[in-house]
């Protein structure tokens, strides 16, 4: 690790010549930022954290592996800015990481305040807030190493499944497709740093100016319903928002409520426009990255996949068959043997039937949890986007039902 006795001018010039950029969503020249704070002299605290908006938390890896480097980077910046207070913010519930950071600080004989949750930007209006990954870069540069790579992880999202790759280092100048095999997925869209791209982005070289956001590159497979994806994103951010800014708090609530309507077949057409208005305004109407970045991908989905919204709202159809509200469920009267297994499995008790009789699903109440499908030995329970064929309307003995 770099020597603490290095004078601040030297440190500054090393950082300057390496021309580091901030990691995370706020891409900017770190040197410029440092000089700005040096000139104003207002900062009394340095805070290192992952971005507030980051719910992937992949970049915490930096702290798991390199706590000491992060702290040393912070100390260097603190020296340059004559700051005495150092704070590391960790997401809620990371007790193991708290221990790791505490121990690292102890070993380095450094006082670090550990706080949890998202960085309270109001309490720290004047603080120097930086990304933990940037701090390792600073440390690397001061140690004479290069800061020329970023941590990357691939997340593949299918209709109802996600897969995470291992975490890899990507050297600047290389493309994502150089280190990951992305050919297996038939990609509908790629999300990087809360923006949507088409798949050609994977072939383009990544530079230090590229906004990589959380470092997790999400690949949406063709089987994804983008409305549903957007609904999940809204809900996640609704839960994540600290609630202090009107646009972030109420904006995500509106996005979540409107998406909720659409995926449950109750959507209204004007929702598309209103959600775009809200999402776009959030970008410059909130105090931290949760509000300013958290809805960008949702807005992109609204813009790029408007046709999927229109299908849901106007045609009452979820093209990928993901949204359950648009499917029908029934028990095939020719296959059902009247074993009653599905009745026992149904958590909301909406199956009618008894031993030896053809079972029937009350599909008004059914939540389409598919528990019955899992237990049926005859594969008699059918989920379909098509219309339900004619089925018994009262209890009928197995084998007695005739279709006309």
């Amino acid at each position: 690790m770099f020597t603490e006795n290095m004078d601040t001018e030297k440190m500054l010039s090393l950082i300057e010549s390496a021309d580091i950029y901030e990691y995370g969503v706020f891409k900017e020249s770190f040197t410029a930022k440092l000089n700005e704070y040096k000139n104003s002299g207002k900062a009394k605290t340095i805070i290192a954290a992952i971005d507030n908006v980051d719910t992937d938390e992949m970049l915490l890896e930096v702290l798991y592996k390199n706590s000491k480097e992060v702290i040393c980077g912070m100390k260097a910046v603190a020296n340059i800015l004559s700051i005495s207070e150092m704070v590391i913010y960790l997401p809620e519930g990371k007790d193991d990481l708290v221990k790791i950071v505490e121990n690292a600080a102890k070993e380095l004989n450094t006082e670090i305040l550990i706080k949890t949750g998202i960085v309270d930007v109001r309490e720290y209006r004047e603080a120097f807030i930086t990304h933990v990954e940037t701090m390792t870069a600073v440390n690397d540069v001061l140690e004479g190493k290069k800061a020329d790579k970023a941590l990357i992880q691939i997340k593949e999202v299918f209709g109802d499944d996600t897969k995470l790759s291992e975490i890899k280092e990507l050297e600047y100048g290389k493309a994502i497709s150089d280190i990951f095999d992305t050919s297996k997925v038939s990609i509908k869209a790629v999300e990087i740093g809360y923006k949507l791209y088409d798949k050609s982005i994977l072939q383009q070289p990544v530079t230090k100016e590229t906004v990589l956001g959380t470092g997790v590159i999400t690949l949406y497979d063709k089987s994804c319903c983008m409305v549903h994806i957007s609904k999940d994103l809204s809900l996640k951010m609704r839960e994540h928002s600290c609630g202090k800014c009107t646009f972030c708090r109420e904006g995500f609530i509106q996005l979540d409520m409107r998406h909720g309507e659409i995926v449950s077949k109750k959507g209204e057409l004007d929702s598309i426009g209103i959600m775009k208005d809200i999402g776009k305004a959030m970008n410059f109407s909130c105090e931290c990255s949760v509000g300013t970045y958290g809805a960008n991908d949702i807005v992109d989905i609204l813009d790029k996949f408007e046709n999927e919204y229109i299908s849901h709202i106007k045609k009452k159809d979820c093209p990928e068959g993901v949204c359950k509200a648009f499917t029908n469920i029934y028990i095939d009267p020719d296959k059902c043997i009247g074993c009653t297994k599905c009745i026992k499995a149904c958590p909301i008790d909406c199956i009618e039937g008894k031993e030896g009789y053809i079972h029937m699903i009350e599909d008004m109440d059914c939540t389409k949890c598919e528990e019955c499908i899992k237990v049926c030995p005859q594969n008699a329970v059918v989920i379909t986007k098509k219309r339900t064929p004619s089925i018994p309307n009262r209890l009928t003995r197995v084998g007695r039902f005739k279709q006309y």
Partner: protein, 705 residues
């Protein structure tokens, strides 16, 4: 200062204040909600957005610092659209109907909505479903009306540094709560009311304000000062007391009262009755703090100096050296007049000296406070009873009658003139002067007020074997303090409430009193007493002495030449304090009946001011004695603040006190005065918080409907 242009209007604003505050200071309204002048910016509501130097970008003006030559637009299509969006979002979780809200008509949010011309209905509305919380004393919460502007949190955290409130989140709904969702009292709340003061909605509410919509805000917020007849700045002197600056504290009191120590002993302390602290547990021990500080003051700030206007050459005569007369004398002297007080008795003090017994108020205290007044140049002539006040007009430019109520009332009762029947005022005066009282061994006092108890307890101290006290009122409505009744009973006095006085028995000498039980006792609309007696409830108490303690009246007759009013008072206009005779004023008990020393002081102050005006002065008798206080915003967190117990004075046991006239109540001890002072909520600080100005108070208002 820099010059900026807002909507084409050039204004000069301070560089240290945001553009929004600069605009507001200059009378230009920019809609806003989370911004509050005294609090750090929150930047959350986005109502205050503007654009700068022709840019199409918007920025909240609460976070924009002015620079020389800046050109700002507060309106444009884009700004309007975004502002509406902000309002719509803000109201998505807010009840639509204002009419049931306690803040209705008085609400910043409501006027903001009006300014914006109402909200649209394009948002999905939801009801937050919070339960109203009325369990806390003084403050109630209804989180359904909260728009999360965060003012309350900043007031509690940044302004007051108490740190009780914070944003909380449950079931995806953000709300304002206490840190651990416990009651305010259990979180160390100081009940300063700052949160309620800054809340722009009907969410955090002051219970007393809601209960008293017609009273002046200042009187509801700071009830102790409002209740005090001279409006002493109570929280200010309590703060000095807490800091150990007893001179400063006394100076605050001395700005209004020339008898602080006497009042520290015997004031009826109406302030304590309305003190807000009693909603948490017990009211502040205001009187005992007053007593402590003035007994421990060296005289710094107030003894020397103070106001003294040059001599006017006008002469004033004050009749009666009680608290009303002496107070008026002091302030008239300070206004530059030549003041003479004529007192019938041999010493000054009025009922302080000749009514209130020594064991409650040591005489050195009165001596010292009277001396301060005579030292200021007031001439005192004792043993000088004025029979013909009108004649004083020959020698004086103005006369004030402050003769109190010195004639006890002898009820029209069979046996009321037997030997052994005494009258309260005479009895107590004789006791005070150490003269023969003609009291026997078994005493019955008739009356249930504090005067009756003074008589009874004096009788015990003079050596009476048995002392009983009977009155018409039921125990709960007796006018004497509970404390007084309790202490009397400890001293062996038997108390008989709800009794009618049938007759005093005996031939020549008193042998006893006949009573009956009262079933009910009310006043009709003509203020006549209606008494229903319980049949067959006759009761007799043997005694050799009866003391009437059933009221006292002014000792004056029409021969004095002044018009006499109700209950033998001097007929006086309460507004002007003028009597029927020009140039003769009246104040104190003699105009309204026996009330209290502090009322007499208030009346004396009023008389001084009015007489000063009558003599050509400006009537302004206020004076500044206490040092300036630094501006206080932070009060800090105190664990268990709401449960801090009232510190009680040290009191001698009944056995130690009942055979002598020595003082028995030693007030607060040195180690308690700071602790007791800490209990004060400092209700006054809330009045220093900037009040919001609603948009219609700005000059550039535009009605948008």
């Amino acid at each position: 200062m820099v010059e900026i242009t807002i909507d084409g209007k050039k204004i000069n604003v301070s560089e240290d204040q945001c553009v929004l505050e600069g605009a507001l200071t200059n009378g230009i309204y920019i809609p806003h909600l989370c911004h509050h002048k005294d609090l750090p910016e929150n930047g959350s509501c986005r109502m205050c957005i503007v654009s700068v130097d022709g840019s199409n970008e918007v920025t909240p003006s609460c976070k924009l610092m002015p620079k020389e030559g800046m050109v700002i637009n507060t309106k444009s299509e884009k700004i309007d659209k975004l502002r509406f969006l902000a309002l719509d979002l803000l109201l998505a979780g807010h009840p639509e109907d204002c009419s049931t809200c306690p803040k209705y008509g008085n609400c910043e949010l409501q006027t903001l909505i009006q300014y914006m011309g109402g909200a649209s209905n394009r948002m999905r509305r939801r009801s937050k479903g919070f339960k109203e919380n009325k369990e806390n004393p003084l403050i109630e919460h209804d989180m359904n009306r909260c728009v999360l502007c965060g003012r309350c949190v900043r007031a509690c955290k940044n302004l007051r540094e108490v740190n009780v409130l914070d944003y909380k989140k449950e079931d995806m709904e953000t709300y304002i709560g206490t840190l651990h969702d416990k009651l305010l009292k259990d979180e160390g709340c100081r009940f300063c009311g700052a949160c309620a003061e800054v809340c722009p909605t009907g969410t955090i509410r002051d219970k007393l304000m809601i209960a008293n919509p017609d009273k002046k805000k200042e009187d509801v917020v700071l009830p102790c000062k409002a209740a005090c007849p001279v409006h002493t700045d109570i929280p200010k002197y309590i703060r000095f007391a807490k800091a150990g600056d007893f001179d400063g504290a006394t100076a605050v009191i001395r700005e209004k009262i020339p008898f602080p120590t006497s009042l520290g002993y015997i004031c009826t302390h109406v302030c304590e009755l309305s003190c807000k602290r009693k909603e948490l547990n017990d009211s502040m021990s205001i009187r005992n703090i007053k007593r402590y500080v003035s007994e421990h003051s060296t005289g710094k700030y107030w003894k020397e100096g103070g106001k003294q206007l040059p001599d006017t050459g006008k002469k004033v005569c004050i009749v009666g050296a009680g608290p009303a007369g002496m107070t008026a004398a002091l302030y008239l002297r300070k206004q530059g007049h030549d003041v003479t007080v004529k007192e019938a008795l041999s010493n000054a003090g009025g009922m302080l000296r000749y009514g209130i017994p020594k064991y409650r108020l040591p005489r050195e205290v009165i001596d010292e406070e009277v001396k301060f007044i005579t030292d200021k140049g007031v001439k005192l002539e004792t043993g000088s009873k004025v029979e013909k006040p009108i004649e004083l007009k020959n020698d004086y430019d103005a006369v004030l009658m402050a003769i109190g109520t010195h004639k006890g009332v002898r009820l029209p009762l069979e046996g009321n003139d037997l030997k052994g029947v005494l009258i309260n005022t005479d009895f107590l005066r004789n006791v005070s002067e150490g003269k023969e009282t003609n009291m026997g061994e078994r005493v019955v006092v008739l009356g249930g007020g504090n005067v009756a108890f003074d008589c009874a307890r004096s009788a015990v101290r003079l050596g009476a074997k048995k002392v009983s006290l009977a009155c018409l009122e039921a125990r709960e409505v007796m006018t004497a303090d509970d404390e007084e009744i309790k202490e009397a009973q400890e001293e062996g006095i038997e108390v008989f409430p709800a009794k009618t006085f049938e007759k005093i028995t005996g031939e020549g000498n008193v042998t006893g009193v006949d009573f009956m039980n009262v079933l009910s006792f009310e006043f009709d609309e003509n203020r006549r007493a209606i008494i229903t007696k319980e049949p067959n409830s006759e009761m007799h108490i043997d005694c050799d002495t009866v003391i009437f303690a059933t009221g006292q009246r002014s000792d004056i007759s029409p021969e004095a030449g002044l018009k006499i009013g109700r209950a033998n008072s001097i007929d006086t206009d309460f507004e002007t304090l003028k009597t029927s005779e020009d140039g003769i004023f009246a104040a104190g008990d003699t105009i309204y009946g026996t009330k209290s020393v502090i009322e007499a002081v208030a009346s004396g102050r009023k008389a001084a001011s009015l007489i000063d005006i009558y003599l050509g002065g400006d009537g302004d008798i206020t004076e500044k004695l206490a040092p300036e206080e630094p501006e206080i915003t932070s009060i800090g967190h105190i664990d268990g603040f709401g449960d801090l117990e009232r510190k009680e004075p040290k009191i001698k046991s009944a056995n130690e006190r009942k055979d002598n006239f020595d003082k028995f109540d030693f007030g607060l001890c040195d180690s308690d005065v700071c602790g007791e002072s800490t209990r004060c909520l400092q209700c006054d600080l809330r009045l220093n918080i900037s009040s919001p100005r609603l948009w219609d108070e700005y000059s550039t208002k535009e009605v948008e409907v």
